[in-house]
Amino acid sequence: MRELTVKQLFEDKRKDFALSLVTEPQTINKKIVTPYFNRPGLALAGWLEVFTPERIQIFGEAEVRYLQSLKEQTMLERLREFFKMDIPCVIISKGLSLPPSVEYLANDFNIAIFSSRLSTVQLISQINRYLMDVFALEKTIHATLVDVFGLGILITGKSGIGKSECALDLISRGHSLVGDDMINMRNLNDKIIGRSGREFGHFMEIRGVGVVNVEKMFGIERVRHEKTIDMQIELMPWQENTEYERIGLKGNYVEHLGVKLPIIYLPISPGKNVSVIVEVAAMNQILKGVGYDAAEDFNRKIHEEIRKQTLFKKVQATEDDPKNGNSK
């Protein structure tokens, strides 16, 4: 989780949020500690019991009109109680403004007030997106991330097992690379977004060749900046006495940042074309996504066949039974 100050928010999003600072410049040094915002309607009416002061406070038309309806004395009283709670900052939407006496009061409490020209709904959705992005859970892992048929596939496995080589094969078959070796993962609305852990381009180390630049070699269409991760494929050396998935009826899952992703443990051995298997796994996952599970379908067909045989046997048994003629 990154740390965010009001100052940083202002610098990052001044243009996007159409912000201008109403109070003195030194008021913007407060920290923002949660990814949520608050509409403080009830707090301004004096009810401060379930108030969340650590959040960014957004004044829409309702708050501003309400404050304007109060006598100046009462309004300042209420705001004094409000500012005492040590809030990070106030953003007023729709380009609305409050009387200068409010600005002075905010300066006294060292609380920043911004004015935004965006409508309240726009402002809230933009702020939400920005804060979720900043405060997203994240981690960086040793893996390779590729886009195969539009599916984000995270390839993991021990160093030297052939993650990069597999990715390279996939790229030359027309798929694209997101990142190699170091992948940064972030939880955005319970989706895992992966991107390269390094910001300086799509380089890859291929053992025996050295470092190559995938973007220069294969072109811009074979690289991607970021991609939602849909599944993980763990490459592992083939071992004699290990059990591998044979049918696929019970799926395996792995958890990253609180999100469950399907995982395939793929044993590799010389002569096995791993990238084709990755393609097949991706296509199978896409089919599952649209509601077709080959393993289930196959099992159902076997069940049907078994049932037919059982029925057939029963019929034969009753025909063979001499007592059968007497019963109805």
Binding site: R246, I302, H303, I306, Q309
Partner: protein, 87 residues
């Protein structure tokens, strides 16, 4: 070569899960392993083969194995099938 005749003893026959169990157990052994039913013989270490038998409850299967641990293989698999896969 060791042979043994068994009867499928679980309610739903050899559908995916029991078949997978047989194959998984069989692959632990080094011997070659086959299952035969009504003249159709399949490799007991191939999951597709075993499932394709579509052996229902009461079906009679002939297990055969050849190799160093054939005896143990047959013993274990036969016990599994006749025991109804522990159900």
């Amino acid at each position: 070569m060791i042979q043994k005749t068994v009867t499928v003893n679980n309610e739903h026959g050899l559908h995916a899960r029991p078949a997978a169990l047989i194959v998984r157990t069989a692959t632990k052994f080094r011997s070659d392993f086959f299952i035969e039913r009504d003249g159709v013989k399949v490799n007991g270490k191939s999951i597709m083969g075993v499932m394709m038998l579509a052996a229902e409850n009461g079906a009679v299967l002939t297990l055969s194995a050849e190799g160093v641990d054939a005896e143990y293989l047959i013993e274990e698999i036969a016990a599994m099938i006749e025991g109804g896969f522990g159900t």
